[in-house]
């Protein structure tokens, strides 16, 4: 009988949920109680809704347990040591039997996330054992030319996963066409959309896949220096990247004459971003790497012609690079098997919001929104009605429930007014106010505008002011038109993607939920009952027992009425905090 092996999911999400404590507990048991077990760590497997996750390999059978704390882990170890059987109700995934979470994993196809949650990201051996660095060795062994690799990537149909959706192979070809002794390859790991964590998970869970992707890219375009621009808010990713880079150097995957390819020299280092969203834009990113203020500049010239230090530069996103080794190893045809005509392969999404199973998913292109929400996501929390989904974060737009047959591919999503984006997918239910949602995202882009272009700097500010006014009941006739006027101008007259897309959440919500805007402006009502300033709290006389609990808890003493008498809320004094509603035990408070 083999030793019991425990693997704890130690991604940032796991650690935040308490995985660190669980890990320490097992270590404690190992050391102090002389338990003869193996302990290892991996990263996020994507089931954020089940964290902390602990995988137990017992007799070569793997059981993934969810929602494990320090007590439960002790119980699990005891149970397995005694019976070598699982505690079924805690298992979220195993080959042995079906669990309720099977729907979450079954519809997924893992290419970019192929190793995430399965290997220890801090050990290059585990990456190598899972076909890691096989792609670059394949290139070396078969003496594949730059052109062959580029053609391969073009054939795979891989498009930029950072949101742009430009054909990756074509981008490489441009960079390759610019002959220069010095070229750069940059990995854009400045993931900044609120609610998006695709890149972080890949960097934390499988840093070598990104590094190998960059090595292949560098070879294809002829670059000799690489930079991973990673936001400083990802300390674990940066730590693991640096470990991985050191290991890759040691194994000769970085350095001189890599894998024996003559004159193929490359080193990669990590540059930490200082937290400006706009630095995800490639020209701003380059400025930031050069030590300048992170502000975009006009393209052309594109980085492929004049990028970092004015030299030809190729920039791809983390997920794009993570796909590359798989494509080279398995072949372009294999990759292109997945997806639709113009959008091949898979896409990773960070599924969040009012959804039952939130987490990181990798799905083949062409899947419907409906399948993602109901099959993978398990539907809406608390049985509420699905209202809309925001795709592409603050740069994207919303797709309303009635368009849930929309398939996930670049062109179909664009046709709705939203964008594929980098993979943020925020699900909203009937209690979400769409005006307030647009306001939230615009607040983000407005604050993150670098301040260079007039329209983005002042225009988004003015849009935000109008939206804030509307949600506070101060909306005026003509506000919607003013928002549209500003939106179109800002989209037309901004240098970079931030400004060009900032109005999207507003435009799509106006397109699909114009009546909500009108209700706010004309009737001073929020149909989703979410904008507090537009709500009225009232006592339902039939239900009120005169228990006084609401009056006692009202912070402004806005509720009149003595014991055993029906209470009354004075609207002039009510600050709409909702304390009465939460405190009332008799459903005697209504909002309208």
């Amino acid at each position: 009988m083999e030793k019991l092996k425990l693997i704890v999911g130690m991604g940032s999400c796991g650690i935040a949920a308490g995985a660190g404590k669980v890990f320490d507990k097992i270590k404690y048991l190992q050391n102090n109680e002389q338990l003869d077990i193996d302990l290892d760590q991996t990263s996020c497997v994507g089931m954020c809704y089940r964290e902390p996750l602990v995988e137990i390999i017992d007799n070569n059978i793997s059981y993934l347990y969810g929602g494990i704390d320090e007590e439960k882990v002790e119980e699990l170890i005891e149970h397995h040591q005694k019976f070598h059987l699982p505690i079924k109700e805690l298992v979220v995934k195993t080959e042995e039997f079906k669990t309720i979470d099977n729907e979450f994993t079954d519809s997924q196809v893992k290419i970019a996330l192929r190793n995430c949650g399965y290997i220890n990201p801090e050990r290059i051996e585990e990456y190598i054992a899972n076909n890691g660095y096989k792609a670059i060795t394949k290139i070396a062994e078969n003496s594949l030319s730059q052109e062959q690799i580029i053609q391969n990537i073009i054939d795979s149909g891989l498009r930029g996963r950072g949101g742009g959706g430009f054909l990756t192979g074509l981008k490489w070809r441009f960079a390759n066409n610019n002959k220069n002794a010095e070229k750069y390859i940059i990995c854009n790991a400045d993931e900044g959309d609120p609610g998006a964590f695709m890149d972080r998970s890949v960097l934390e869970g499988d840093p070598h896949s990104v590094i190998e992707g960059m090595i292949i890219g560098a070879y294809a375009i002829g670059a000799n220096d690489g930079v991973i621009y990673c936001r400083a808010e990802y300390p674990l990713a940066i730590k693991r990247l640096n470990i991985a880079l050191a290991q890759a150097r040691e194994k000769g995957f970085l350095g001189k004459n890599i894998c024996g390819i003559k004159n193929f020299n490359l080193d990669i280092h990590v540059k930490e971003g200082a937290g400006a969203f706009v630095c995800g834009e490639e020209t701003a990113l380059i400025a930031s790497v050069e030590g300048e203020r992170g502000m975009p500049r006009k393209r052309p010239p594109f980085p492929a012609a004049s990028g970092l230090w004015k030299k030809p530069t190729n920039i791809n996103n983390v997920e794009t690079f993570a796909n590359i080794p798989w494509i080279i190893f398995n072949g372009a045809k294999e990759y292109a098997k997945y997806g639709t005509e113009k959008s091949k392969g898979t896409k990773v999404f960070a599924l969040t919001g009012k959804i039952n199973r939130g987490g990181l998913v990798e799905v083949p292109m062409g899947i419907t929104i409906k399948d993602i929400i109901y099959k993978l996501g398990g539907g809406i929390q608390n049985g509420k009605k699905f209202k809309a989904v925001q795709l592409g974060g603050p740069s994207g737009g919303c797709i309303p429930a009635y368009l849930d047959d929309t398939i996930v591919d670049y062109d179909s999503v664009n046709a709705t007014g939203a964008i594929m984006g980098s993979g943020g997918m925020v699900v909203m239910d009937e209690s979400t106010c769409m005006v307030d949602m647009a306001r939230f995202f615009l607040d983000f882009t407005q604050k993150e505008s670098c301040g260079k272009c007039t329209f983005c700097r002042i225009g988004t500010k003015r849009m935000l002011e109008i939206l804030t006014r509307i949600t506070e009941g101060e909306g005026k006739e003509g506000d919607i038109e003013k928002l549209e006027e500003l939106s179109y101008q800002i989209k037309d007259s901004s240098l970079c993607g931030l400004g060009q897309t900032a109005p999207n959440p507003v435009l799509t919500t106006i397109k699909y939920f114009r009546n909500e805007y009108e209700a706010h402006i004309r009737d001073k009502k929020c149909p989703a009952k979410s904008c507090t300033k537009l709500l009225t709290y009232e006592v339902i006389s039939e239900n009120c027992t005169g228990c006084t609990i609401c009056a006692v808890n009202c912070p402004t003493n806005a509720i009149d009425g003595g014991k055993k008498t029906i209470h009354f809320i004075r609207q002039d004094a009510c600050i709409k905090c909702g304390a009465c509603l939460t405190k009332c035990n008799f459903d005697a408070i209504k909002i309208s």
Binding site: R293, C450, K452, T454, I458, Q489, D492, S493
Partner: protein, 895 residues
């Protein structure tokens, strides 16, 4: 570089593909606005004003950074492009917390540039100040005495705690106008050559006189027809002499008639003058007839003997030259305006025993000038406020006996904003009176209209329901195209300055009419206003100024006023100069040169369209030469970029993100603590007034004259433009010279100009005799020098050239030394402190522009930045643009 074919606004062009659209359009004369582009800098594309539409391209493209390509089809000025530019300006203006113009100028009906003339007075340029005023107001000495001064009511000094008095604008105007009037060479405007056209002006009041002044300058012959026996209108017949002496009035009227305007007195239109003659003899007529008819009280018994309208009372005295004798009499003046003040104070001077002013509201609501009220009280006038006459009581002979009044209380504010007086029932009381002077309003007397309409052939002159002459509000043209009207006759009884303002408009339209042009009012100028953001607060305007009490007007002792001598005695020169320091200079110093303002005017920007949050930041005066006002900044970043890419100092940077972004010296320091070179290139590139010169004098702004010269601070020879007003240098700017092709300059050329204005600088040779300097002539000085040179052997003479002489001057000095004094002892002060080691081994005459083409630059010695700033900028710019490597070879301590 290759030749390509492009289409711009539908026209085909051949162009060079290395050029941007903006560069090419500039070459072919298509104007594209831009705020963030400076040809000295790499394209930046942030203001989004230079957008153009390119067929097939997404959205709009910035022409400053878009290079042209074969077959490109570009629209530079279509509706979409214009709408986008306008919105960019709307948005920029919505956060442009600054005033283009000071409130004094904005509130003046005639738009007198108060801030400008105060600045000229400050510099002792009195005639220039008068010239500036007279551009829009030909009667400054008169207005300096009797204007109602809306400028002073609007003055931001009013809002200052512990002070609360406006700048003595009118007093300064009076001072400078009197100074000019009493000088031998008073200011006379230039008269354009005769057009042969003639204009008749009806009425020689302030409006008529002003219209004549403006039109005569245009080269037209103006004849004024006046019904009275003297010119001046209301100025003479309405305003008493103790406020406006007749001799002063005559003198100022003469500054108009001396331009060639004829004055025909005792000519009353409709009586002894007919439009039939005017129509025949003149190309156009301007009606400036005033509001001559006094109104009575409108109560029972007002026909009693002893009840007059105030203006009839005042006019009678002036027309007859006889003063009333009110000895032992009681006078009741009804009304609260300036005419009431003139009536009551005149009554005192006519020796009245008791003078009452009855006014239906309180003193606070009185429209009269507060100083007048104050002086009247000093002189003995008594006030019955909240009182209204209801009936005039007369004796059996129909002679006035008394006046019955009712007490009033104040109710809700009416449409004028003043609280409406309501009679208190049963509060009637009687006041005995010998005379009642009703000063409650005037009406227009336009009886001549029948005469005009009888002879007019193309149109009809009409009156409004208030009896005033109808004219187009913007052009003041009447329904008879050749007749224009201005002043009280159009507006009803108003102020002198309004009449002058209207005369300006009517004169402009009249000029256009007789010159066969389209009649168009002055185009509306965009004006950014702080008041569009917040109500006036002193802090927003005070800037670098200090508390300073107003210089009060010296007046005649109140015991000595039973005569018609002028009460206000006028500022002395010293007082006027001191008072200039109180001006906050609320208007922007870049008023005449601001691109943002010009484009906002051109595109009709609206400051309040996107009203919202705005940033109010303190102005940074900490640098001795450079003032940073972020309130005006549009974040084009030109200053930041020029400081980094051209100067190499990197003294300025952008702080924060998005809407919170602003420009500030690096690392939170004061600009003086950074690597700032004080070259002022940031000022030269700022498209608005955000970075300006921190001048030690009042910058005006005023329009300046300029000339070009070569800077004599170092040996480079940069071309500079010197801007001055009447010899007072106010600004130096770089010009595109042979050497400094881009118009750059260093700190010396830019800021080292105060010596021009130094009145104590030596301009004549001085000879020291017995320990004292004595001015001598140049001839004498040369003779002495020659004598001294000859007194010793040639080799005992040495010639040192000054470090700031031009090449030509240095050449002449060596000529003088070698040919004249036969010595080879020649050197320059500039090299006096230098050690050996500077060997002349370079090629001669390598032009500076070769620097930009160099592969590597060696600098010997570190003084380039200090001594030859503009060349160091060329070196730095090569480094920024081309990464040219620079080796500095210097001693350790010079680094």
């Amino acid at each position: 570089m290759s030749q390509i074919n492009i289409t711009i606004d539908g026209k085909l062009y051949k162009a060079d593909n290395e050029q941007t659209i903006l560069e090419f359009c500039n070459e072919i004369g298509i104007k594209i606005p831009t705020l963030c582009h400076d040809p000295r800098l790499e394209p930046y594309s942030s203001c989004y004003l230079c957008v153009v539409e390119i067929e097939g391209a997404r959205g709009l493209q910035t022409s400053c950074s878009t290079k042209m390509a074969e077959g490109m089809k570009i629209q530079t000025n279509n509706e979409k492009v214009r709408a986008s530019r306008k919105m960019a300006l709307d948005l920029l203006q919505s956060n442009h917390f600054a005033s283009c113009q000071a409130p004094c100028k904005s509130s003046c009906p005639a738009g007198v540039d108060v801030q400008g003339y105060i600045s000229l007075i400050e510099k002792g340029l009195y005639h220039e100040a008068v010239k500036l005023i007279k551009e829009v107001n030909p009667l400054p000495a008169i207005c300096g005495r009797v204007c109602v001064r809306p400028c002073e009511a609007a003055c931001n000094r009013n809002f200052m705690e512990n002070e609360g008095t406006p700048v003595g604008i009118d007093y300064m105007k009076r001072f400078v106008a009197d100074f000019d009037l009493n000088s031998k060479n008073h200011y006379k405007p230039e008269i354009q050559s005769s057009t042969g056209k003639k204009v008749a002006v009806i009425g020689a009041g302030p409006g008529g006189l002003s219209a004549a002044y403006f039109l005569q300058q245009k080269g037209h012959q103006v004849d004024i027809f006046e019904a009275n026996n003297h010119a001046g209108g209301w100025l003479r017949y309405g305003i008493p002499e103790y406020r406006l002496p007749n001799n002063l009035l005559d003198k100022e009227i003469e500054t108009i008639t001396e331009l060639g305007t004829n004055l025909f007195l005792n000519q009353k239109l409709g009586e002894n003058l007919s439009y039939e003659k005017l129509k025949k003899e003149y190309n156009a007529t301007i009606l400036t007839i005033g509001a001559q008819k006094g109104t009575l009280l409108g109560v029972e018994g007002e026909e009693a003997e002893g009840v007059y309208s105030g203006i009839d009372f005042l006019r009678n005295m002036e027309q007859t030259g006889q003063k009333y004798d009110f000895s032992g009499k009681t006078i009741v003046v009804v009304g609260g305006g300036n005419t009431a003040m003139d009536c009551c104070r005149t009554s005192i001077r006519c020796k009245a025993e008791k003078t009452y002013v009855i006014y239906r509201r309180t003193e606070k609501e009185m429209p009269a000038n507060p100083i007048e009220i104050h002086e009247s009280k000093l002189e003995g006038v008594e006030y019955l406020f909240l009182t209204n006459p209801t009936k005039v009581n007369k004796d059996e002979n129909g002679k006035l006996k008394s006046i019955t009044c009712v007490k009033m209380t104040l109710g809700e504010p009416d449409s004028s904003g003043r609280r409406r007086p309501i009679p208190e029932e049963g509060s009637e009381f009687e006041v005995n009176a010998d005379y009642i002077l009703a000063a409650i309003g005037q009406k227009v007397n336009a009886d001549f209209i029948t005469d005009i309409n009888k002879f007019a052939e193309n149109g009809e002159l009409k009156l409004s329901k208030w009896g005033t002459i109808q004219a187009n509000e913007k052009t003041l043209q009447t329904d008879i195209p050749s007749i224009f009207a201005a002043g009280d006759g159009v507006t009803g009884a108003a102020t002198i300055i309004e009449a002058i303002a209207q005369a300006g408009i009517a004169a402009r339209s009249c000029d256009q009419f007789i010159m066969g042009q389209r009649i168009e009012p002055k185009p509306k100028e965009f004006l950014s206003k702080k008041s569009n953001f917040v109500k006036a607060s002193p802090k927003a305007f005070m800037g670098k100024f200090e508390y300073q009490l107003r210089k009060e007007m010296p007046v005649l002792d109140e015991k000595n006023r039973i005569n018609f001598g002028e009460v206000e005695l006028g500022y002395t020169e010293e007082m006027a100069l001191q008072e200039t320091a109180r001006c906050f200079e609320c208007g922007c110093s870049e008023y005449f040169s601001c691109d943002l303002k010009d484009y906002s005017t051109e595109y009709g920007a609206e400051q309040e369209k996107f009203k919202g949050e705005f940033k109010a930041r303190p102005v940074d005066f900490s640098h001795p030469f450079i003032e940073i006002d972020n309130n005006k900044c549009i974040l084009c970043s030109r200053c930041v970029r020029i400081c980094k890419d051209v100067v190499g100092a990197g003294a300025l940077g952008l702080i924060n993100r998005g809407f919170d972004t602003y420009v500030a010296p690096s690392m939170g320091l004061s600009l003086t603590e950074t690597a700032c070179e004080s070259c002022g290139l940031c000022i030269s590139t700022c498209p608005t007034g955000a970075i300006t010169e921190n001048v030690k004098f009042k910058s005006g702004p005023v329009k300046m004259d300029s000339f070009e010269t070569i800077c004599n601070y170092c040996s480079i020879g940069c071309k500079l433009t010197i801007h001055h007003r009447s010899g007072f240098v106010m600004k130096v700017a770089g010009a595109n010279g042979l050497v400094n092709k881009e118009g750059n300059h260093c700190k010396f050329g830019k800021f080292g100009y105060s010596f021009y204005n130094d009145k104590t600088r030596i301009t004549k040779p001085l000879l020291k005799e017995n320990g004292e300097f004595k001015e001598i002539s140049f001839e004498k000085a040369f003779a002495i020098i020659a004598e001294k040179i000859k007194a010793v052997k040639p080799e005992e003479n040495a010639f040192y050239a000054g470090a700031r002489l031009t090449n030509e001057e240095i050449y002449l000095i060596q000529k003088l030394a070698r040919a004249g004094a036969k010595t080879n002892n020649i050197s320059s002060f500039h090299y006096a402190q230098r050690e050996n080691g500077y060997i002349k081994n370079s090629f001669d005459n390598v032009p500076f522009e070769e620097i930009s083409k160099a592969g590597k630059v060696f600098l010997f010695g570190a003084e380039l930045n200090n001594d030859n700033g503009v060349v160091s900028f060329m070196v730095q710019n090569a480094r920024a643009k081309k990464n040219t490597s620079i080796d500095l070879i210097t001693r350790l301590e010079d680094r």
